[in-house]
Structures are given as C-alpha cells and as structure tokens.
Subunit: 347 residues, 2 copies
DNA sequence: ATGAAAGCGCTAACAA
DNA sequence: TTGTTAGCGCTTTCAT
C-alpha cells in the first residue's frame, strides 16, 4: 500500500487555529494576512510562523461574505470559444491585467448560442463575480437588467449590446469590411463573393454591411455579389466557396469575414487550384498568413487591444467610475500580402 | 442625467428575503433551489415565483462554506499561455466536461515561469478550488505536499511532476521526437538541426532525448548534430535557424520541437529561400500547415484528448477514486505533408 | 496594538 | 412536508 494514498487528509487550517497557535486573536491574524496596519512586528512574525507551520491558506470566499465591499476578486469572461485564437489573445490580455490586481478569471465558451450565453451569465452571477466581460449574440440581453440593478459592471466585447448604457469595445467592423472590399474593387474586381457567418451574429451583419457599402460606392449592383451566409466553421466555408467556384459565373475575388471562414476559403481555393487567380481578403488575421503562397491579405483585428481596453474599462467601473458608457472602436488594419492584390481577369 | 446611471443599485436578494416573500422557511427555499426532494409542488411554485420576482441568484460561495463536502464547484487550470493554440484546445476540452457538471474553470497562464507557477497554485488554493489541472516547470513541486494533505486532486498535463503519486497526462514526447528525427534520417539526412526550447522545460528535454535516440540508432554521431536550445518564442527560433543556415556547414534538415519554434523556423527557411531544399519536421501541429508550400510535416499532438483525459481523471478523483496514480501517454501522429520528405542533397 | 462578539448567506442537523 | 437553530471561516464593529 503506497504511503501517498494512506496519508492523512488533514482538513484546511482555519484562521482560528492559526490564532490559537500564535497565541493571538483571530482579528490579529486577519490583520497580518491582509497586511493591515497596527500590528507589532513581533506579533506579525509569530503569526507568519504559525501560518507556515499549519500550511494555512486564507479562504477568500469566506472573507468576501463578510467584507464591506462584498468583492470576490473574481471576474467572468465569456467568449465564442477559448479555442479560437481571437479569443485566446483577448483572454490573455484580460488575464495580464487581472493578475496584477490579484483577481482571478473565470473563462467560458458559448459558441454563439444565445441559450448558453444566458446560462453562462447566470452561472457567473451565482459565483458572485465582481464584473463581467461578455460577448453577446442575443438581440436583447434580458439578463442586463439584473446586472445593472445589482451594480455588476459589464463590458461587452466584439459586439455591442442592445442597451447603449453598457461599455463596449469592438473592432471597426463595418469600416474594416468596406476597406477590404474596396481593396478588391481597386484591383479591378466586380464579381466578388462574400463569405460570412450567421447574420444574427452582429459582427457578421456589420461586415456584410461594410461589404455592401463598398460595392455601393463603386456603383456595383448588389445583384452582382455572391453572398454565402450562415458559415459558422471552416468546413462550411470551404463547401460554400467550392460550390461558388464551380458555378457558371464564379467570383474573381472573395471577402471572407471571419478567421475560421478564411481558413475554409483558403482550402477551397487551393483545392480548386485557384489561389493564384482568385483574389482573397480575410477579416481577422490568421496564423502563418504571411507564409502562404500567395500571402493572405487580411484586415487584421487587434484582439490584444480589445482585451486590454475592456479590462481597463471594467476596473475603472469597479473603482467607482460612473461616467457615461464608453463605446470604444478598435481600428483594424489592412495588411496586403499578395492574395488581395491579385488583379481581376480582363473583361 | 441618464436614468441608467441613477438607477437604484439594489443589493443582492437573499434566501431569507425569498423565504419571507414566499411565506416559507429558508430551508425550504434551499430545498427548492437545490432541487431536493420532499417539497410540495405548490410550495415550490410559490418559491420560484418569489425567486423570479426578487431576481434572486443563489450564492454558491456562501453555500459551499457550510456544505458537507465543502465543494466550491470550481476548478483551476494552469497552462503556458491561454493564448497558445495548444493550451486553447486543452482548455476547451476541460471546459466542455466541467460545464456539464456545473463546475466553473479558473484559467491562468504562467509562461513557464516557476515563480508564477507557485503563485498561481497558491491563488487557486485561496479560492478553494475543488481540483487542479496543472502544467509544471519546476523540478520539485514544493506545493504538492499541501495539495496532497488537503486532499485536493491534481492532474498534471504536458509534463510529469517529480512525485509519481499524482495523475498525469502527457504526449509521447520522446518517442514522437524520435519518430520525427528518424523520418528525416530515412530521407537521407545526417546533418540535422534541433531547435528547441529551454531545457529546464521537461517537454523540451524529452524531445531532445528522442532526437538523440534516433541519431544514435542510425549511428549518426551526436557531434554532427546542430543543437540550438533556449528558444522560447518564434523570434528566437527564427534568429537561431537563420544563423545556422548562414554557417559554413548548414543543416540539410531541421527538427523543431514546439509550435512557436516551428513558426520561427518556417520564417527563417523562407527568408533564406531554403523552404524547398532544407527539410523540416515540427513537433506539435501548426494552423494552416497543410496549405504552406511545401506543406509542413509535423508530429501532431492531440491537445483535445490531453484535456479530455485530464479532466476525466480529475472528476474520477473527486468522485472518490483512490486507485494508484495513472500516467497517461497520449500518442502523437506523424503527418507527412511535404517539408519532412525533402531528400538530403547528394553527398 | 489587540481581541470579543456579531453576522455575512447559506446548508446540516434535528425537531415538529 | 416544513421550519428552527447552529455554525461554516472570515471581516466588521467596537471595545480595551
């Protein structure tokens, strides 16, 4: 029988035990642990000694139950999927700021499912998070009233909520998409395909608008555009573009409005041997885009900055900032790498 | 003055208030909220009514303070960086299982810094997580005794801890690296460069061993190998390989032992115009590897399976499984895509 | 500088 | 089926 498994499972030491061992009251232990003033150095030393000897770890949860501000030093982050590089970069930026303030982050994925959005927010509430950074897909955030009434600050990222009274940080979706499309038009394209996600997802809808904005400005009738929507993953995007490419009047250029969709489009172009003849601009950067042949031209987002701005806003609210809600738009950047500069074939 | 900001900040409703409104005792509310048996349907209905009308959300933290098992329904996950796709896939797999059990996940990044590993574990302890899934970089997990004494189950991922008494789930690092190297040798290479991370990182050390295993089996003297270590990001890897390629006796093949290192190597090869002449096999898959020219041959890990196996193990421990520690090795898979099949130049 | 007592919101144990 | 009381580990308040 291994020693490990039969080892006594000692329960967590409590502040009371530490106090007893150090020969002080619990409040003094509390003062020492929380670095409050007015503790004699010798007393503090005895307390730390007892802490070490009992391997004591404070229970922050119990403390927050009684603490005046009621804070749990905890924060909830909801993203499409923690597995998506866009979300990963945001998450990291949020964490980097949170950790400095000794705040822990609950991260959840919701796959753009309205029901899971609701459930995730309620789960965060039951855990008494101090604040939230949320991606939303619902047209109405019905839980928003609860949050406001409870005074729990929320910053929306990537998409804006129905209620403009909440802070938000989003990319310049419409303008970025228009810039991407205009870039293709400048290279002579008129027959441009739009590959995009479900239109109930705000970013997809806005990027579609930007696409149409650019067509309109160039006087290209909307009817010439080839629009495939509802593409929620790379495989769907690949199928959709493959079909368009095989049609009688295939597009000479493609605007893919999201990172996974771009990946699908790249596969479709490659399968059709069209990567050097059909132009492509993607919204949101993809890894190794610069090493492909041709390089993938993208309108890059700045997820790191989105996360940073959001968490900064959140901590400002937690510090008592009650100025009007800010709606931050993080600029996108067109990065030409080759695929977007393929000219249209002569008419 | 906007109505939103002046809105009354109503404090959280308590169970007591719900009980009062429903005209029942708090224990009855508790029973209803927790779906315990022995509550009349009519009573339950009145309670739910009160819950809705007060917008009540139970405080799980307060509950766990008194609950017999003391569980917080919370779990800590420590990874290199939540921004790395390898970690993202693991995280997602962990979350998918956790959410089914209504367990929330704290995710932290530690950048392979031993000090941050220590701090992260202590932060998790103060939050009273029920269990931990940890990546480690320390040679000794000095916090491990605390965890065992406290009876907090831990599953290590990606790297094994010094104490074999803990469960672990890792990739077949040594064998996978040997397979990658053997693959290059089979294609005629003898002068092979190894690009790897800091050797105090266990995975880097094991993959180096695998590399040497393969050289040894092929009778290639170690002295012929070009080894660059301490490469912790893509930029460092790129610089290191660029230097090797510019030397008098450049390698004819490269084994890069980690995803970021592979990305750096790809850039270096491209810059030197050597992507079609110098062979490359990477450890851990990289996004779009199949679309590069040539495709990137890799020994793919299965992060999704690592996460799934780890969280499964963890929940088993939480359910009382006290069988001996399991050390799971998740197989890797060599995926030939072109870069690893470039033959050695004639001697 | 220190400690005693009360109580945060909940669940356990027991009583009715 | 329901309610009452105590107490989880901590911080507050107020005393000394």
């Amino acid at each position: 029988m291994s020693e490990e498994r039969t080892a006594a499972r000692r329960p967590r030491a409590t502040m009371k035990q530490v106090a007893a061992l150090a020969g002080v009251g619990t409040k003094t232990v509390s003062r020492v642990i929380n670095q409050e003033p007015n503790v004699a150095e010798a007393t503090a030393a005895r307390v730390w000694q007892a802490v070490r000897s009992l391997d004591y770890h404070v229970d922050l949860q119990a403390g927050s139950l009684r603490r005046a501000d009621g804070r749990t030093r905890t924060l909830g982050l909801l993203v499409g999927s923690v597995d998506n590089p866009f979300a990963g970069a945001i998450h990291r930026a949020v964490e980097d700021t949170a950790i400095q303030r000794e705040v822990a982050v609950f991260a959840s994925s919701f796959d753009d499912d309205p029901e899971r959005e609701e459930l995730a927010v309620r789960a965060f509430l039951r855990r008494r998070v101090d604040g939230l950074i949320l991606t939303t897909v619902k047209s109405q955030q019905d839980y928003a009233r609860s949050l406001r009434d409870l005074g729990i600050p929320v910053v929306y990222i990537d998409r804006r909520p129905a209620d403009a009274g909440f802070d938000s940080v989003v990319s310049a979706n419409r303008r970025g998409a228009a810039a991407a499309t205009a870039h293709l038009i400048e290279h002579g394209h008129r027959r441009i395909a739009l590959l995009t996600d479900r239109l109930d997802i705000q970013t997809a809808a806005e990027r579609q608008q930007g696409f149409f904005d650019a067509l309109g400005r160039a006087g290209i009738p909307t009817t010439e555009a080839l629009v495939a929507t509802g593409l929620h993953d790379a495989a769907a995007a690949q199928r959709a573009l493959a079909q368009l490419l095989a049609s009688d009047e295939p597009p000479s250029a493609v605007f893919s409005s999201q990172n996974l969709v771009t990946v699908g489009a790249l596969h479709a172009l490659r399968s059709a041997g069209a990567q050097h003849s059909v132009a492509l601009v993607g919204f949101d950067d993809v890894p190794l885009a610069d090493l492909l042949e041709p390089g993938v031209t993208v309108v890059a987002q700045d997820p790191q900055e989105i996360g940073r701005a959001a968490v900064t806003r959140l901590f400002a609210r937690l510090a008592g900032d009650d100025s009007p809600a800010q709606h931050i738009e993080v600029p996108t950047q067109l990065i030409p790498r080759g695929s977007g500069e393929i000219p249209a074939p002569p008419a």
